[in-house]
Symmetry: none
Subunit: 420 residues, 2 copies
């Protein structure tokens, strides 16, 4: 990789240095640059002081071909990136009409008045190439200066990602003639990283040298990322496909999709294909399963609704769980979860009902049912399947994992259904 | 702040540069240093190459009084921090008997054999002061070199935190006679960054030189962070409190808390104080409001449940919305949202009912009701308050913002209630 294009990623903001916000931008940028064959050599954060920003720019110029700067583009006084870039490049701030039109329309659409601070967001260093930010009022900027590329982006993660994905990465690929790197991601659920690694070991060891494998685990899911480097896109794509076909039989049950497929989207597509409707009954996940399902545009085609039954009273009155069941077995039991899934299906009049009930923590655990004990269920006209999860002690993680395992149970149920 | 002790935090590892792991260490270290009055001036990540490490050490020496290095202390070959530190300081690696005893006992306790690689973990640069790591085999090290302090720590977060908390931070406080830095964060909701800035401009301009202000915006919330530097903790705390008292009347309606307060926690505490129970009826937010409320441990004390009514059918059958209302005004209307909030309160038998109905996007907009049109409501025994939101075109953002504005409407309703 020594001949590759070198990148330096700089984040600007006291709040990052002082540890008051989590910087997720540089990790994301590091991944994306690596993905297009540009090699990050340094990541730095500096405060909102002109001298510190100037110093890092001069340093970065010495060791990198492309310098990506995020942060410090907001309208308030503590944001000085643009002024400092002017000083660095030896240019003036100039109002950009395209940028002004965008800021103006942003405020008009919301029926809000624009202040001079807002108008100032359309002022760019004179040598900037304007990169339109569709998601906010702070523009992206591209500079070419003494054989280096400088990119300045807002620090708000979704605005930065939008600009990188749609404007900057394509332009970087074009500007530097980067080698061709192709990725294929196999998305798995319900199998741990080390079990997965054991199962596919022989295949992994036989991968050709120009195809690399990475395991990217995240809350009950593992992404297997294959990266192929070469000079022919068609060949690389074919080689990647061949490798996928080889490994698939070893892990087929756990593969739910590829690349950017999300579990909630895959499940939604299965429901649409089969023309089935869905409802959820949630206790320990408190609405999180429904919110994942409805994060998918168009989910109203199959998702009818949810009853979040945090109290036993609602389990009884809204879902029809029998009081005796709750008394004898408790809310966190196979008997209750079965009645919840079947109940919501009936009450909300859907084809499928899924349900969660468990002890998310940190309180509420007992020796019999420690924190992390969770029941999930999926009920259809054909059958009700229940599953017991034994999770950890952290509330957030338990909610995350429960929702993933329940969506996976729903996915498996939908796939089984085909076979009948 | 120019006279304060300056710190540089360096992380070593290709995996961080390439975005393969999340670096949580530097944020934590930044917070801890700031809390003892040491000012982080730069954060950097470099790869596992000796020349890159030497370069950053030389640079850091120029701008910082204390340099904290994490990572690169594992037993494998790609971890070269110690060798490079030797080169930098011009010393040899020397086996440290205390460190060796610890590594040995670590392996004995686990009944595992020690390799030469493991024994090598007890080799330290000759000028190192050994800092015992009770939680792993990689030692911490303290160096004093040309009027600078260098600290080298393992990158494993819990080992690093243990060493920082118990060994390094106390020693830093003792070594440097540190100025004191205090922070106070005012948390606001429902007012944009630039409007906030205009409203408090006079106050901001009148802040004394040793108190700085930063704006930290995030989805409908803005954190105002005040940072005061001096030599007397009690005085600084008093000055920060005085500034908060001065600015508060200008923005009182928008302030929901301080420091680490979260909106969902604040709202939960208000409900608990007043001994009120809550239910939600959600359409466009699809369960997200309930999931935010239930992300708070102990929320079952006041939160009873939610009816997520994605379909009109459920709005009618479960929430008691009148079919004529839906027909005449549509699901996204003041009339419907009122019946949803009042309906869920009645059906789930709670004191308070809150509701959302809107067009989250990307589809479903009309000229009259474009994507981003959202109604929210809060119903109590005393009254029902409704509000129309005009949001943007992005589904995720619309869901996020709606949930924040609804929690804020609930907060305001609870506060108004006191006054009656």
């Amino acid at each position: 990789m020594n001949n590759s294009i070198r990148a330096e990623v700089i984040t600007i903001g006291d709040e990052i240095l002082f540890g008051q916000i989590t910087d997720t931008n540089t990790q994301w940028i590091g991944t994306e640059l690596t993905n297009i064959g540009i090699r990050p050599v340094r990541k730095s954060s500096v405060g909102d002081q002109a001298d510190a920003i100037l110093q890092i720019l001069h340093e970065a110029h010495e060791r990198a071909d492309v310098i990506i700067i995020t942060g410090g583009l907001g309208p308030t006084k503590d944001d000085i990136t643009k002024k400092t870039l002017c000083q660095y490049f030896g240019v003036e701030l100039v109002r950009n009409e395209q940028a002004l039109a965008l800021v103006t329309s942003f405020f008009e659409k919301r029926g809000r008045d624009m202040t001079d601070l807002n108008r100032g967001q359309a002022d760019l260093p004179a040598n900037a190439i304007y990169m339109q930010n569709d998601w906010g009022t702070a523009p992206g900027m591209w500079f070419e200066h003494q054989e280096r590329v400088y990119v300045s982006l807002p620090g708000v993660p979704f605005e930065m990602k939008h600009l990188m994905t749609n404007r900057i990465l394509p332009k970087l690929k074009e500007h530097f003639k980067t080698p061709i790197i192709k990725h294929k991601i196999i998305r798995t659920v319900g199998i741990g990283e080390s079990f997965l690694a054991e199962r596919i070991e022989a295949w992994e060891d036989a991968l050709p040298a120009h195809i690399k494998l990475a395991y990217l685990p995240h809350f009950g899911q593992v992404r297997l990322r294959l990266t192929a480097t070469g000079d022919n896109e068609v060949t690389l794509d074919r080689e990647l496909d061949e490798q996928v076909q080889k490994v698939l039989p070893l892990i087929e049950k756990n593969v739910f999709g590829y690349d950017n497929d999300e579990l909630e989207t895959v499940v939604g597509n299965l429901l649409k294909e089969k023309n089935l409707t869905l409802a959820t009954a949630e206790s320990c996940t408190g609405g999180y399963v429904a919110s994942r399902i409805t994060s998918v545009p168009g989910s109203s085609a199959y998702f009818q609704g949810s009853i979040v039954s945090y109290s036993n009273d609602i389990k009884i009155k809204q879902l029809g769980v029998r009081p005796e069941t709750l008394e004898q077995f408790g809310a966190v039991s196979e008997e209750t979860i079965r009645q919840m899934a079947e109940g919501v299906r009936k009450v909300l009049n859907t084809d499928v009902g899924i349900a969660t009930s468990g002890i998310a923590g940190p309180d509420g655990g007992t020796p019999d049912k420690p924190v992390g004990t969770v029941w999930i269920a999926c009920a259809t006209d054909q059958r009700t399947v229940t599953r017991l999860l034994k999770l950890g002690q952290y509330r957030d993680q338990n909610i995350q994992l429960t929702s993933t395992y329940l969506l996976n149970l729903l996915r498996e149920t939908m796939i089984e259904r085909v076979k009948e």
